[in-house]
Symmetry: C2
Subunit: 347 residues, 2 copies
């Protein structure tokens, strides 16, 4: 804060608040000062905030509005002139509150302060991510043998999500994608009531959460026997995944990491069919810094955990994505997802 | 737009975009003009946007940034001077883009334009909400007989979520809350690995989604036999729920609706223990307009669907919440959740 010439910093992003204080509720403001930080939340979280935040921050329970709590709090805790806020998280309406009810202070936009800290995982965080990955891969392992032609995507997603819960996932970090047949060509398909049939690609993209930390995994399998073109496309994606995981390092730019997969897929003739970025950080959020994409000039920090998820999507035919979670450690990278990447044909 | 002196309106809230165009992806901007609206999204949604939006809006696919697409689009489609934006949804960083790259136009904050339309459900929307409610109540009905002392909250949540999927829920609108024993006293508990035991309250707050529309339901049951105090607290909440559902009407303020439950619970001596609002609208989002709370002065619009969810929470002892979904029709209100509200003792 000193380097940025801030007397204090207002944090309004819930994942950032959780990272800094341990508070896991859905509504709060955190005021960080040189002394003790203060968390403002509402009645629903009275007991929880006390338990979770403990001595890390003072907790204020506000029955009406978090903002009226903030206006009372600031003069109580310091003689602030300049207070930072999170430009990428504060909505315009709340920015107007700063300009209006908070006009006696100077408000300065900041970006990526907490996000930069969060991108570099410590040992405890890595353990939780690895536990979440074990939950996710275990659930997939238990469910794939039960998948049969005739089941709907939604039924398969239900089996998978139940297995995730059974193994201890606290919630689902995003709606699981179970997409079959031509629907697998939609990179962000929603799970539908379509019944899977023999010869379909079945793409499963799902996550799990342990101790607040996320795993994010995708596998694509075939129901019954694959045909030649399915095998060809699958192997291109598998090779792109393998090359990327083997070469990704902290210190590379997100663009360089992305280019490994992109150039390989383009060289195989499918450049147009890989239209999304190679990956993203995972942690308290399932999409967080850093980004691995054509437009990501930033360097990948040490100790980040990122997804490597190349894909090839051919409209009206089908798509393949293979997504692993990779730790960018000091002595090279390590693939955290041990689930097989060979094409599985479900009999 | 004419009444608000706007030449166009930039919609950045995804649920609002879905409401106005049918597009269900996770990343887009919508520019509404007097002529054809235009949806800007990215590669991942190329096929999906074409299918979902059809003739309602022109679709633009942007490979780099939605914003650079917007700057190209505006001069192409109209001679705009003043364009509205959504103050409650646009983050400060994107507001700065409007002031910077978009500075040749005048940007005017708006609130609740699409939200106001969304609060009043039409017949098709009501049907989808009723289907989502049927999925949710059916799932609860199928799972409660399987709950046994010794199961963990997480296992019970897994069974419930699997049943929701099995019955056709497209996703989970929020992480299901399964909270037992003293944890039921946390109004927004997370599901944990705690095993339920005889004599526990078991609170289940969960939702389902059909055609994009949400149901939101809570029931609280007892594992084994309830004791006198559990019965007493439960009956207070049940009566508060019944009185509220019977009296809530469009045209009342959210505060008046809330007061029915609040006054009853306070009269029974538990006023301090009901610290959240009575309810909220449901639709494409599981929390949307209108609000039913002490601070909600706005009138409840006709054809809204709202939750009625009084609760009593006693720290270190336990809590009860009973939540129904109620339609505020022209000829009086109608409770949509048919699941029993009597205290169930699971043997």
């Amino acid at each position: 804060m000193e380097a940025r010439e801030l007397d204090g910093l207002l944090i309004s992003s819930m994942p950032n608040i959780r990272y800094l204080t341990g508070f896991s509720g859905t509504s709060a403001l955190l005021l960080v000062t040189a002394n003790q930080p203060c968390l403002i939340t509402d009645f629903r979280y009275k007991t929880q905030a006390g338990n979770e935040v403990g001595g890390i921050a003072r907790v204020m329970i506000e029955s009406q509005s978090l903002w009226s709590g903030l206006w009372r709090l600031i003069p109580e805790v310091f003689t602030a002139r300049t207070i930072g806020f999170e430009s990428a998280h504060l909505i315009h309406r709340d920015f107007e509150r700063l300009q209006d009810a908070g006009k006696q202070w100077h408000w300065k936009p900041t970006v990526d302060i907490a996000e930069g800290l969060r991108a570099q995982k410590d040992a405890d965080e890595l353990i939780l991510i690895e536990q979440a990955i074990a939950v996710a891969t275990g659930a997939l392992q238990s469910v794939l043998p039960l998948v049969r032609a005739g089941m709907t995507e939604s039924q398969i997603a239900g089996m998978l999500e139940s297995a995730l819960r059974e193994r201890g996932s606290e919630s689902l970090p995003f709606p699981s994608i179970v997409a079959s047949g031509t629907r697998s060509a939609l990179p962000h398909a929603r799970t539908s009531s379509r019944a899977v049939t023999n010869g379909d690609f079945l793409l499963l993209d799902f996550g799990s959460v342990v101790g607040g930390y996320c795993a994010d995994i995708t596998r694509t399998v075939v129901i019954g026997r694959c045909d030649t073109r399915q095998r060809e496309v699958y192997e291109i994606v598998r090779e792109a995944n393998a090359r990327s995981s083997a070469s990704v390092r902290s210190g590379m730019s997100g663009r360089e990491a992305d280019a490994v997969a992109r150039d390989f897929i383009a060289g195989a003739g499918y450049g147009e069919a890989f239209g999304h970025g190679l990956g993203h950080g995972i942690g308290l959020e399932v999409h967080e810094a850093p980004r691995l994409a054509m437009s990501a000039e930033g360097l990948l920090p040490p100790n980040a955990v990122v997804t490597i998820e190349p894909g090839v999507y051919i409209p009206e035919w089908g798509g393949v994505r293979i997504e692993d979670d990779v730790y960018l450690g000091g002595e090279g990278s390590r693939i955290l997802t041990s689930f097989p990447r060979e094409l599985l044909e479900l009999s």
